[in-house]
Symmetry: C2
Subunit: 505 residues, 2 copies
């Protein structure tokens, strides 16, 4: 078989496997939105069966043969060509998959599906003991996974590499160490400021159905196509790409807090805009897929924080908010709204944290994960360890585990190594946003008149349409001319919060 | 391999195939409830791929080998044992599948998925021309299917056999002929009656959210477990069993017509109660599956019409209706409500038809289908042929195709031969209900105090838990002591409507 034919077969097989993956995506989306409780056991069987089937396809020796035929042949050409990128990434995935025993893959799918149901109940009852056996099982399986993968210097690095290819804890330690110090200082300075936002603004009565309509309108306005997507309700919001033309956002509503669902929706819409911006024709191949979770998060955090929590955004949207929630916010100015949605305060819940303290929540989780995976911290010790570390980072003690170590869904799904990508996303986002300002001109002037599509289209061309052509660090360099660097993020935070709180750094 | 081992393998393989089928069920449910429009093309690819994969599994020569090892061995034993029934039905399905070319199966999945989207638009615009090319393609493929199956005396019989195993158009002609005459006479007599229901009762303002809450409460009350199911909104209501513990109902609401969604919900709940009553441990095998569409429909029509449209039902539910829709129906008596939800009138829309004229709508479709499939009536002639036949049956002419040949989803899904099972369901339901009255005593007294579970549990034991042990005719005979017979249905209709309209027959 010649290399061209082998490549065609490789791509066709990949696209078929993607169909099975997209079925699993719908099953998971449904599980978290509409599935009745009684469906849980069989859903676990369905997902386990699909995962096994996908694993079987991904580890077929046939793929290894096709790759061997293609690699090193002149067919591949330029290493940044679509063909070379697809072959490079399929090779990476194949090598990774070949190391995982099929029984481990099936067990993880089954255990995590059941654990997610258990987590929902455990969080509601703040009952860590009920969740503990599930988590113990998951940690055990993830350690097996890390041992099987043998990537990087520590078991944790092996897991991290799955979400952010090439990333290492040595590098994260270097970046997060100084960030922690600077963020703690920044948060402290802000807490000492005399100027305070009026938080009452976002804590009035906001009817859920109007929140949903407003959230959908805002998602549309910034460029998320609602005819190719949806917005639904779930416990832990996420964005799921079911397939081209079908990208689903979720959020959760609080009638007495407008900001939670709204910024959650902008955040997920940012992910959704990335997914909608991928090349649909390349769906099911690396060239039609996202680079990494860090790059994905750079898109969501940019739309949520750099666009949505910006004065120019509220210059445009406040009148719409006023006409949607009649009589509720007539007394509010764009400045007061902007200040209220940017309040900095140490708090317990990551997903409700502000832009400054958010990264401290991430660094805490990163430290916990390293202890669990590398240092074999017993799962039963998590609540105490969490609370002690939280005290050290935030000088606060969570009132219960629902507000502590039980708050996030990630571990119930086996997602160790996932959290750091949130802060990487913030770092990348600040770099991309600085560059966009440089190339597109006065973004604030655009936002204040409702022009969000120039930014979306710039992101689409520079990032979304590139698929996996570049690894995250290389993409950042390609787009901004510089490698990953936390300084633009710190510059953004010092500038924005200095102005809001009347501080100079 | 011994027969026992072969049987274990056969069942395990069947259950795995059922997992894939259940994934497809969720994809279809989602397509008809929540999927954004933009997801349609890829959904077609997903379903086509799954259908191909399922077909491949169902036609694996391995199944033939296993069946050959088991059949005729002493292992199977009593022909009504679970083992014998599973082997018999898997053999039937295998032989059927082996006759269908894989390309035809894939083509039907793809074409019908697209056609269903087109049908939604065509019905909304009453634009038969827009739907015509899709339907032509479907009829062409269904004729290929009938030719490949070579079951029964006509191509239509081959398709009919898929929904109601063993049923023939010769038999239906014998049953439907006299029924048409009797029903026409009955409808005529009722139209001549001086007593008329006050239809204004059901056509007041009924808020959708309250209708949904009331519908869910009623479905629960009659025995549908809402923790193992859902109720959602769709264009053409259906019930879908995703898997054990996850049975989904759908309905559609009209703010100015309470009866449409409510009886639709009872109807689908009847299907759902059947699905929930199947043996969960046998899911994915014939012993855990429904007998036929006719038997399925006997359950839905019984709960909808024989229970829900009964005075004793409204004796219990009217006070609840009054407290749900405050001030809306305070002036209504159970008798007036019962009469209003049993108005007999010739009309255009099957799903809104009363119990008497409903079967005339079915017989009309049955005649149309025979002409399309056996007599090669061109698809382009459907609107005229429909309207002419409708005039003959109902002495009315549909104002447009949305109220005529475009009203039903079935043909867009390739469901030729499906409609007759609705009337078979009515026939079976009347037989089962007469028998239940005989065995359980005064059902009216039970219903009027909200006791619906004795009937549900009787149905569960006699019908649901039997799985596919008996073919439909044999099941009717097993349960009632007599074979299928339209007379109990006609007796029910004459008795009920004679009393309501003050007529004697």
């Amino acid at each position: 078989m010649d290399a061209g034919t082998a490549y065609q077969k490789l791509i066709a097989g990949n696209k078929e496997t993607a169909v099975l993956g997209s079925c699993a995506s719908l099953l998971v989306w449904d599980e978290r939105t509409y599935m009745p409780k009684g469906g849980s056991p069989y859903r676990a069987e369905q997902l386990s069966f699909l995962a096994g089937m996908i694993h079987e396809r991904l580890t077929s020796p046939h793929i290894g043969d096709l790759l061997a035929t293609i690699e090193g042949s002149p067919f591949v050409g330029d290493p940044l060509s679509a063909e070379a990128v697809n072959v490079r990434e399929i090779r990476r995935g194949y090598d990774r998959q070949m190391k995982l025993p099929p029984d481990l893959v099936k067990a993880l799918a089954r255990v995590t599906t059941l654990a997610q149901g258990a987590w929902v109940d455990a969080r509601a009852a703040s009952d860590f003991a009920a969740f503990r056996p599930h988590l113990e099982e998951i940690v055990k399986l993830k350690l097996e996974e890390a041992a099987a993968l043998q990537t990087g210097e520590t078991p944790y690095d092996a897991l991290l590499d799955d979400y952010e290819p090439g990333e290492t804890s040595a590098n994260l330690d270097r970046v997060f160490g100084p960030m922690k110090t600077e963020l703690t200082a920044l948060a402290g300075a802000i807490e000492g400021a005399s100027r305070k936002p009026d938080m009452g603004i976002v804590q009035r009565q906001y009817a859920t159905d109007l929140q949903q309509a407003f959230g959908e309108a805002a998602a549309s306005a910034i460029g998320f196509d609602m005819t190719k997507g949806r917005l639904d309700v779930t416990t832990h919001p996420f964005c799921s790409g079911i397939g081209p033309g079908d990208i689903r956002l979720t959020t959760r509503y609080d009638e007495e807090n407008f900001a939670q669902a709204f910024f959650g929706t902008l955040h997920e819409a940012g992910h959704g805009i990335y997914e909608q911006g991928l090349d649909a024709a390349a769906f099911g191949t690396p060239m039609g897929d996202a680079v990494s979770l860090g790059i994905h998060e750079s898109q969501s955090r940019m739309w949520e924080n750099m666009v949505g929590r910006n004065l120019s955004f509220w210059t445009h949207f406040l009148p719409k908010l006023q006409s949607t929630f009649k009589g509720t916010v007539d007394d509010v100015s764009p400045e007061a709204m902007t200040f209220a949605v940017n309040r900095v305060e140490r708090s317990f819940i990551r997903v409700e944290a502000d832009e400054v303290t958010y990264n401290l929540h991430i660094i805490l989780r990163y430290e916990m994960e390293k202890r669990l995976i590398n240092d074999k911290l017993p799962v039963g010790d998590i609540p105490d360890a969490w609370n002690e570390t939280f005290k050290e980072f935030f000088d606060l003690t969570p009132p219960d585990d629902a507000n502590g170590c039980l708050q996030d869904i990630h571990w119930s799904g086996g997602g160790f190594g996932y959290f750091p990508t949130y802060s990487l996303g913030n770092i990348y986002a600040a770099q991309f946003f600085e560059q966009a300002r440089e190339e597109l001109g006065d973004l604030d002037a655009m936002f204040s008149t409702g022009e969000f599509l120039p930014l979306r289209d710039w992101l689409r061309e520079k990032i979304h349409r590139q698929g996996m052509r570049y690894r995250s660090g290389d993409l950042v360099k390609e787009v901004t001319g510089r490698g990953p660097d936390a300084e633009p993020l710190m510059r953004h935070l010092r500038g924005k919060y200095g102005e809001l709180y009347g501080l100079s750094f």
